[in-house]
């Protein structure tokens, strides 16, 4: 697409990759997203700790954006260290919640689950483990039905 116009001193919206590139070449200063702020992130972290469900995150790429901006432009982000800690704390809470949900799902032998507001990063970290575990559980459940055809060789 088209970008610009680039006028000195005036903020302009660009794709992240370009922003990082220009920053690395010391040609600009980055403005963090409105949610990358200690107050806002504290609210999110607290809500995450309070609720059983997953908080809708301000960006589906909150982890990726935090990492990129803190790596390349921490000088443009006020209280960067606190931001880093807050995001990590929120991630940890969400992952623990995900494991809790998974355990509850397995124990109740549910057939379907719906988890709203997860980001791809979270899904990818846990996804392979979960699908394989559920696969095994499914096979063990078919054992409960009598009949030779259900006892397959492949484990």
């Amino acid at each position: 697409g088209d970008l610009g116009p680039f006028n000195p001193g005036l903020p302009v919206e660009v794709p992240v990759w370009l922003a990082i590139n220009l920053k690395q070449r010391q040609k600009c200063r980055l403005i963090p997203p409105e949610w990358m702020d200690v107050g806002k992130l504290e609210e999110i972290r607290d809500q995450e700790r309070r609720e059983d469900t997953f908080t809708p995150m301000p960006s589906p790429y909150y982890m990726e954006l935090t990492k990129l901006l803190l790596n390349y432009a921490s000088d443009n982000i006020p209280r960067a260290d606190e931001i880093r800690t807050l995001v990590k704390d929120t991630w940890d809470t969400r992952m623990a919640k995900l494991r809790l949900s998974a355990d509850s799902f397995v124990r109740q032998q549910e057939a379907h689950a719906k988890l709203d507001n997860l980001t791809l990063m979270e899904i990818n970290t846990t996804g392979t483990f979960l699908t394989q575990a559920l696969d095994h559980m499914y096979k063990l459940r078919t054992n409960l039905q009598p009949g030779e055809s259900s006892h397959s060789q492949d484990f």
Partner: protein, 158 residues
């Protein structure tokens, strides 16, 4: 040749081949871990059992055992399933949790199916940590290319 009524240890595949519900050539005795006494231990707390020592293919072998008509099959099948469900949490937590200390004690007690699952969980975590450190964007030579170089040298010297 065998005397009728004699008791032998044979591999599972042979037992399956000889087994025929109509002709009753053989009957299969359950390994003790699938019998009632042990099933009670499992239902009390499946997490304490060393499934590697008792197995190491507790789930796979147990599932195969169900091929031989045994009146206890429904209980065996249920115990195997419930055991998996009970142990699932610890395997998931220790394979996926970055702050865990030494997991080797837990892994030592896992059967082969659980160990494979543990590895998968570890990989998910390792991939995430690798990304976090920024290693995911480093280009490294594929191992195929690295080994090709080594092999060529060996040919020249040998």
């Amino acid at each position: 040749s065998f005397l009728q009524g004699s008791k032998l240890e044979i591999p599972l595949w042979l037992a399956k081949g000889l087994h025929d519900s109509k002709r009753r050539i053989i009957s299969v005795e359950l390994p003790k871990i699938y019998k009632e006494a042990w099933r009670t231990v499992f239902s009390a707390d499946a997490n304490v059992v060393d499934l590697h020592k008792m197995g190491p293919y507790y789930y796979g072998f147990g599932s195969q055992l169900l091929n031989f008509e045994n009146p206890e099959n429904p209980e065996i099948a249920q115990t195997i399933l419930q055991t998996f469900i009970a142990r699932f949490r610890r395997i998931m937590d220790s394979s996926q949790n970055a702050y865990n200390e030494d997991t080797s004690a837990l892994v030592a007690r896992l059967d082969e199916l659980e160990r494979a699952l543990f590895q998968v969980g570890q990989k998910g975590l390792n991939d995430f940590q690798c990304w976090e450190k920024g290693q995911a964007s480093q280009i490294t030579a594929s191992s195929l290319v690295q080994n090709y170089g080594k092999r060529k040298l060996a040919e020249v010297d040998g």
